[in-house]
């Protein structure tokens, strides 16, 4: 009984000892794997034996453990002799259990044939292929590269496994985004074409009957002048006037719609010069209203000449139109260079932006309308008081924005208005 007991204790002690040795051995193996050990001393009956690990290996072992790819060596049957922790992560399997098992166990069933083939060919020449690895209940897309290793005592295959998950995912996302973008582009093209066609057809076909209304009304007025009463003439006058208004609306809408469609020709434009031409066009009305126009420094900038001319024409004609009753209009036009694309930007000589100010001393408008006046068909005044289609400033805004610029209007009732055009000197 006593004997039995002491036997039990010694077994227990022996087990404890073995456990300890096993722990040490595992530690050592882990340390070797991580490159922390270069040599091992092993006690034996004949004394201590020193086993050095070839020093060149150290760098490679560390390197292989650190690299982002999975790395393995397998024998000719696919048995895994070595594997780094990256591979273990890819297949979501404990590292210790991988070594000694077959690489076939980690290949997704549908790719087993592919793997078998490449395994065979890679003994003669390095080979690579894409396939799916099992990863828990999931699969991981990878590229594997195999090359034969001729070692001193044996031959093995080195296997590098590249995780393609992120790449595949990004590729898929890119494809989706591209498909989406393609669809949006096609839709946009169709709607652009429709819009252009609508504008062009509507304008041509709308103008034809309008012109007829004008022509025949005028003919009526001319040919039957004696037969018409004063009231009759007045009505015909109204018809002609309305048709004329409608015609300018149609032309303005057409011009507005063309702005979005057409590629524009950009050249260096001398604003002073354009303004000179415009003032010639306005000569009659300037004389009639005894308007005074003061022009200071103006830039030369990249622009579509015709469009910039239109912008200035719209703003100046407004300034002439909205003068105070009985007062000759005074319009002040000047510019300064800015550091950045903002109305708050500090002035900067040779800055990349130019702020053109067109200020009048006319009737002005409530500043709450400052933004609205650039919208299509926005009118602050009844058409009896001031003629216009309500498209001019919308065109102005669109042109300036097409030139990568900004527009703003500042005013207070009775205190004149200032229109600001902020334009880049250079167009990309």
């Amino acid at each position: 009984m006593q004997n039995h007991k002491s036997e039990k204790i010694s077994f227990k002690e022996e087990m404890e000892e073995l456990r300890h040795q096993l722990f040490e051995a595992r530690e050592t193996i882990e340390a070797i794997r991580l490159g922390m050990i270069d040599a091992i001393v092993v006690e034996s009956d004949t004394g201590n034996a020193l086993y050095t690990l070839k020093s060149a290996d150290l760098a490679y072992r560390v390197f292989i453990e650190q690299m982002t790819e999975g790395a393995l060596t397998i024998n000719n049957e696919g048995l895994i002799l070595y594997c780094n922790s990256q591979f273990a992560e890819m297949v979501q399997f404990p590292l210790n259990n991988i070594i000694g098992s077959s690489l076939f166990d980690f290949i997704s069933p549908e790719d087993l044939d592919v793997f078998r083939n490449i395994l065979e060919t890679s003994w003669t020449a390095p080979a690579k292929t894409e396939l799916m690895l099992k990863a828990g209940n999931d699969k991981t897309p990878v590229q594997i590269s195999l090359a034969a290793l001729r070692l001193e005592t044996t031959t093995a295959l080195s296997v590098i496994v590249n995780n393609l998950s992120a790449q595949k995912k990004a590729q898929k996302e890119l494809e989706n985004a591209n498909t989406q973008l393609g669809k949006i582009n096609r839709d946009l093209e169709v709607s652009n074409r429709d819009l252009q066609q609508f504008a062009s057809v509507a304008s041509h076909d709308l103008q034809e009957p309008l012109r007829k209304i004008q022509v025949f009304s005028k003919l009526l007025l001319e040919k039957y002048n004696q037969d018409l009463t004063a009231e009759g003439k007045k009505y015909i006058g109204k018809i002609i006037e309305s048709a004329g208004r409608m015609k300018s609306l149609v032309v303005d809408v057409l011009n507005y719609s063309k702005l979005s469609a057409r590629e524009q020709e950009i050249k260096q434009v001398n604003i002073r010069e354009v303004l000179g031409e415009l003032l010639e066009d306005f000569e009659l009305i300037i004389q009639e209203k005894k308007a005074e126009i003061r022009i200071a420094d103006l830039p030369v900038l990249d622009a579509n000449r015709g469009q910039i001319r239109q912008v200035l024409q719209n703003v100046i004609s407004n300034a002439l139109k909205f003068a105070k009753k009985g007062m000759p209009p005074v319009i002040d036009i000047h510019s300064r260079r800015l550091a950045s694309k903002s109305f708050e930007s500090p002035e900067k000589k040779d800055g990349p932006y130019c702020l053109i100010s067109i200020r009048d001393e006319g009737i002005g408008f409530d500043k709450k309308y400052g933004k609205h006046i650039f919208e299509l068909f926005e009118r602050l005044h009844s058409k009896d008081a001031y003629e216009g289609t309500g498209i001019g400033l919308a065109i102005t805004k669109k042109i300036v924005e097409k030139h990568n610029g900004l527009v703003a209007a500042r005013s207070n009732p009775g205190q004149g208005a200032e229109f600001l055009l902020l334009l880049p000197l250079k167009q990309e």
Binding site: R211, V251, L254
Partner: protein, 131 residues
């Protein structure tokens, strides 16, 4: 000498207006109008010698079958009638029509007039080019 003017115009109203406003002018003869480019080309082919040929042609841009520009291009490449001055007129004129018209050989590209004065100045402009 009175200049013979041939109008190609599909719209009967516009044909009528042309005569209404212009038939009392003494410096021009209005030949019977044709309703499109195709008929115009046929009319020119049938003309025997210079007696029946117009001194100037006015083409409406928007005509069925053969529009103003197309007719102009055929005329200018035909050889026989390339020397006859051609004007294009249209209800709506934009810069691209003007550019194309002039580069295709038109002497003038103008808006359709909407009153007596307009019609007369259109003819005045055309006669200036003929002299």
């Amino acid at each position: 000498m009175r200049k013979k003017i041939l109008l190609a115009e599909d719209d009967p109203d516009d044909q009528e207006l042309f005569f209404e406003f212009l038939s009392d002018r003494t410096d021009i003869d209005l030949l019977p109008p044709v309703e499109n480019g195709e008929v115009l080309l046929e009319r020119l082919r049938q003309a025997s010698g210079n007696i029946d040929l117009p001194d100037a042609i006015i083409l409406d841009q928007n005509m069925p079958k053969c529009n103003g520009l197309q007719t102009l291009q055929i005329l200018k490449s035909s050889g026989y009638h390339a020397h006859i001055p051609v004007m294009i007129y249209s209800t709506y004129i934009d810069s691209s029509l003007v550019k194309l018209g002039l580069s295709s050989g038109a002497v003038l590209v103008m808006d359709k007039p909407s009153d007596t004065e307009g019609y007369h100045s259109l003819i005045d402009e055309l006669l200036k080019v003929l002299d």
